[in-house]
């Protein structure tokens, strides 16, 4: 079986998580969730993964607030956020397109983004659709800002942006993204054309690497099974695996 794009993306995200103690993932994020479970498998049990809304990977017993309190206590190292729009300053929009409040397009809402983006050290922005529609010059509504002025308490913030085409690092000082790698089959000009914001382009841009053989074996074996427990539709589509 040749390496699938999903597996490359999962591998790229997992590489960002290695060495962390506690990674939390939203219930409806199968690729980040798979990446977290892969990183956990590689950690030999040292990493804790909380999948919100999952029965199996949910360790919280203090109600809806506990995730947020836990983040504020510094006990969550990485989390994933997405956006209906994401802009070049790392701002995300989960509210809508057009003028607020009567937006033409309405997304569900900001959820915990306006909080977690400040408090969790490594926020990984993930949006599979990589088009000028999703990656924009400026979001119509800032659910969570990419950066904050000095003096604002902010131990956390965006660390990287992963899409279906590329991986970007977020440069907090410069308040912009830098292209790190493009996925197999993508070119730098293509990524530029499909991105609505400007970003830094280093002299050489790598291709996002396929996972190493041992990682791939782990991913397709025990990790795929674990993924199937929480994201059954995704596991079946990517690996043909059903929850055991």
């Amino acid at each position: 079986m040749s390496v699938q794009l999903s597996e490359i993306i999962i591998g790229a995200i997992a590489d960002m998580l290695d060495g962390l103690s506690h990674v939390a993932v939203g219930a409806s994020s199968p690729m980040p969730g798979s990446a977290a479970l892969l990183a956990q498998a590689r950690s030999g049990g040292r990493m804790r993964v909380s999948v919100l809304g999952s029965e199996e990977h949910n360790f919280f017993t203090d109600g809806g607030r506990e995730l947020f309190d836990c983040a504020a206590q510094g006990r969550i190292d990485a989390f994933f956020l997405s956006g209906g729009q994401i802009d070049g300053q790392g701002n995300i929009n989960l509210v809508g397109i057009g003028e607020y409040p009567r937006t033409k397009v309405r997304f569900p809402g900001s959820f915990g983004s306006a909080y977690l983006a400040f408090l969790i050290p490594k926020i990984i922005l993930f949006r599979e659709e990589h088009t000028p529609r999703t990656l924009v010059e400026q979001v119509d509504f800032i659910s969570a800002p990419g950066t904050s002025p000095p003096g604002v308490y902010r131990p956390g913030g965006p660390h990287a942006l992963v899409t279906g085409r590329a991986v970007f690092d977020f440069l907090r000082e410069e308040r912009r993204f830098r292209l790190r790698s493009v996925h197999p089959g993508q070119s730098v000009p293509e990524v530029i054309a499909m991105t609505g914001f400007s970003f830094e382009i280093p002299d050489t841009v790598a291709t996002t690497p396929a996972p190493q053989a041992d990682t791939l074996a782990l991913l397709r074996g025990p990790v795929a099974k674990a993924v199937a427990g929480t994201y059954p539709a995704f596991a079946e589509r990517v690996w043909g695996v059903r929850a055991g």
Binding site: G96, P101, F111, Y115, G151
Partner: protein
């Protein structure tokens, strides 16, 4: 005084038009049978507080014109796509949306629980949420060291008139078991009145059982309880029965047009009468 045991319809009657109502998200125990009674009336001018988000019950109540204000960190039907009536109401300006972020809803309820006028919370500064919530303020942390400025958001207490939810069981004394769903306990503490539907009423006292007591809302906070087997249908009740995905998908589809919703509503209310 122990909570009264009443019929589902009576539980709904105790919710006056114009009330602010704290409701849980779809996975936490929704009193759907009571919501259908509100749709039937139909209730008017409700102020829904999603704890922290609104799901099917919010979209249904909005569709039936029951809602004046929606306060939540999100309104979502999850995997089933956009909440059609909510999206339409936003576009048409038919409801006032008070967008929030999850921990701000929890913190506001905690302020009400503690009887304090406001709660500080980190984050949020620089989010456009703040621009549109004149009731949220930024103050200088009075406890910041060495005179360094440390702006922090303060949020007013959220004290709903009513907390409304569905739980697995009540006991004969009106104590309600909610297990790990502590946001339901927070809602009951924060709200003026708490109305609960339950799958069953057990002939024992949960507080006398060490393990059960830990997940129990004492009767003290509960005004009335209605027995409503399958009362969280179609969104499901964790540990009891799963969501009815077909019914949810049907609703989600119907919600995307006024006609679809009207037809769904007529069907839903007719079914209930049977």
């Amino acid at each position: 005084m122990a909570p009264e045991i009443v019929a589902v319809a009576e539980l709904a009657r105790r919710i006056p038009d114009g009330a602010s109502i704290a409701i849980p998200p779809d996975y936490s125990g929704c009193a759907m049978a009571v919501v259908r009674e509100l749709l039937r009336r139909p209730a008017r001018g409700l102020h829904l507080v999603g704890v922290p988000s609104g799901g099917f019950q919010a979209d249904m109540l909005i569709g039936a014109g029951c809602v004046a204000v929606m306060e939540a960190a999100a309104v979502t039907l999850g995997e089933h796509g956009p909440p059609g009536r909510f999206v339409a109401a936003i576009r048409e300006g038919a409801i006032v949306m008070r967008d929030a972020t999850c921990p701000a809803i929890h913190a506001g309820l905690q302020a009400a629980e503690k009887g304090i006028p406001f709660m500080p919370l980190r984050g949020i500064i620089g989010s456009d949420l703040l621009k549109h919530r004149p009731d949220w303020q930024v103050i200088d942390n009075p406890m910041a060291g060495d005179g360094a400025a440390d702006p922090i958001v303060i949020l007013p207490a959220i004290r709903p008139d009513i907390a409304l939810f569905h739980a697995r069981a009540a006991d004969r004394d009106g104590n309600v078991w909610i297990g790990v769903r502590r946001e339901l306990m927070l809602m009951a503490h924060a709200a003026r009145r708490t109305l609960v539907s339950v799958e069953r009423i057990e002939d024992r006292n949960f507080l006398a059982d060490d393990a059960m007591a830990a997940g129990t809302i004492p009767a003290l906070y509960v005004e009335a309880i209605a027995q409503a087997p399958n009362g969280a249908w179609p969104v499901g009740l964790a540990g009891a029965y799963p969501p009815d995905e077909d019914a949810l998908a049907a609703y989600a589809g119907a919600s995307r047009s006024p006609e679809g919703f009207a037809e769904w509503l007529a069907g839903a209310l007719a079914e209930e009468v049977r």
